[in-house]
């Protein structure tokens, strides 16, 4: 059972279209993070959202943290081929005093020219 559920798992759209990726949980998180991963590389942090209802923008990418801090979304406006990659959401957990990060399954995004 995934603590963080991402949808969709695969998305293929044309350049110029808009898209939204969702990250949902039944648990409350103190923050949620979004990473992007390109082939042959490790994930790289895009953004961290901390406050319920928070919206952060990174050029054409808009990240939102749900009011109840159980979900987050990533919206891309006018997608470009350079946005192609695997997008992962992640949330911090402290289990028996140890700091961990739990990841969603990922959304594999393909932007076609």
């Amino acid at each position: 059972t995934q603590l963080l559920e991402q949808s969709p798992q695969f998305l293929s759209i044309q350049e110029g279209e808009n898209l939204t990726v969702y990250c949902n949980s039944s648990s409350v998180f103190s923050s949620l993070q979004w990473y992007r991963q390109e082939p042959g590389e490790g994930p790289v942090l895009l953004v961290t959202v901390v406050t319920g209802g928070e919206v952060k923008k990174l050029k054409r990418l808009t990240f939102q943290f749900g009011d109840a801090r159980k979900d987050s979304s990533l919206h891309i406006t006018a997608a470009q081929p350079g946005d192609t990659g695997l997008y992962l959401c992640a949330g911090p957990l402290i289990i028996q005093g140890a700091q961990k990060l739990v990841f969603g399954q990922g959304t594999r995004l393909t932007i076609n020219p």
Binding site: V50, Q99, K100
Partner: protein
Amino acid sequence: DAGITQSPRHKVTETGTPVTLRCHQTENHRYMYWYRQDPGHGLRLIHYSYGVKDTDKGEVSDGYSVSRSKTEDFLLTLESATSSQTSVYFCAISEFRGSGKNIQYFGAGTRLSVL
């Protein structure tokens, strides 16, 4: 760049052989992690370390062991490799930036094939 180096980057081995993957960091981070990445599963935690000689199991630890004898090195060993351990393995370190912010930086990964 958090100065994380994984070696080797690619490895092909045979079932039943032991394999050791190395993660090296240059910035003295306390927490280090080993994940495996498989299609449809995202990143799953194998083992982690919270200091020299302090390690613990993650969610998919069966068949793996780890060691951390120095702050900068975290080794992952597959005691007797099986085909189900064919995967891409990532090492990560944590940076803590205030309450609730566990930011992880990842190495470039090791692609392991067990034949």
